[in-house]
Symmetry: C2
Subunit: 139 residues, 2 copies
């Protein structure tokens, strides 16, 4: 099924997207930043920086950490962190609901062989750059 | 104003987002992939690869290029390319409209000083990793 990936960019310069929200959900499940990071193949440092960023983006912290222990011990999502997840997932749901007809229209125009590394339409409609080998994808 | 950045991921593996759509809009304005790329501080090669990718994602080409000339000469958006832009911008509009209340709720929870590189809330709610210097942002 076609999916929407949504990033919310705030005027303050902060933003939240699927990565930060999934990290919060994994912290809720595992009770630990390091365990959550492992489930996402993310370094502890990266996960800590994302949580620290979330704690700066909002006026209230999204997690509260027990003192002591390796990597600061257990980490619990705050009630506010729960609300951030809920709002973000609701934005996703509502956005997808509002976009359904447009997405269906786009789906009807897809090249089903795209994943198979098909060649571009051979109708001369696009004169390729000979310096580029066919089949190369955007980096 | 809070903004949504939306990427549409299709089952085929293709995806469209703000970057590809803005490139198509610049091609429409400039009539040239290279001129469009310049307005976006993008290399011609990068722009060409994105257009080539779009021509593979969909069953119809999004641009048609005049034969000959530097970099394949002028490039015109096809009627189908216009529809892709229209659908994408409508998805953005409808998604934003559907998300307004949730976005307003999130806006009320923001830390207004985020951009100013504020320190995390000093309420002991998050025990930072001493190995990390304060103020560092996610890479």
């Amino acid at each position: 099924m076609t999916r929407l990936r949504i990033r919310i960019d705030f005027d303050t310069g902060g933003s939240i997207g699927p990565g930060k929200v999934m990290l919060l959900e994994r912290i809720r499940e595992t009770g630990s930043i390091s365990a959550a990071a492992r489930t996402l193949d993310m370094s502890y440092r990266r996960a800590w920086l994302l949580v620290d960023d979330l704690n700066r983006i909002f006026a209230e912290p999204v997690v509260s950490a027990a003192v002591g222990g390796k990597h600061g011990g257990g980490t619990a999502l705050t009630a506010f962190g729960e609300r951030v997840i809920e709002h973000y997932r609701a934005v996703e749901r509502d956005a997808f609901g509002a976009a359904t007809a447009r997405l269906a229209a786009l789906e009807e125009t897809l090249n089903a062989d795209y994943g198979a590394g098909s060649d571009p339409p051979d109708d001369g409609s696009f004169s390729g750059d000979p310096a580029l080998k066919p089949g190369c994808k955007p980096s």
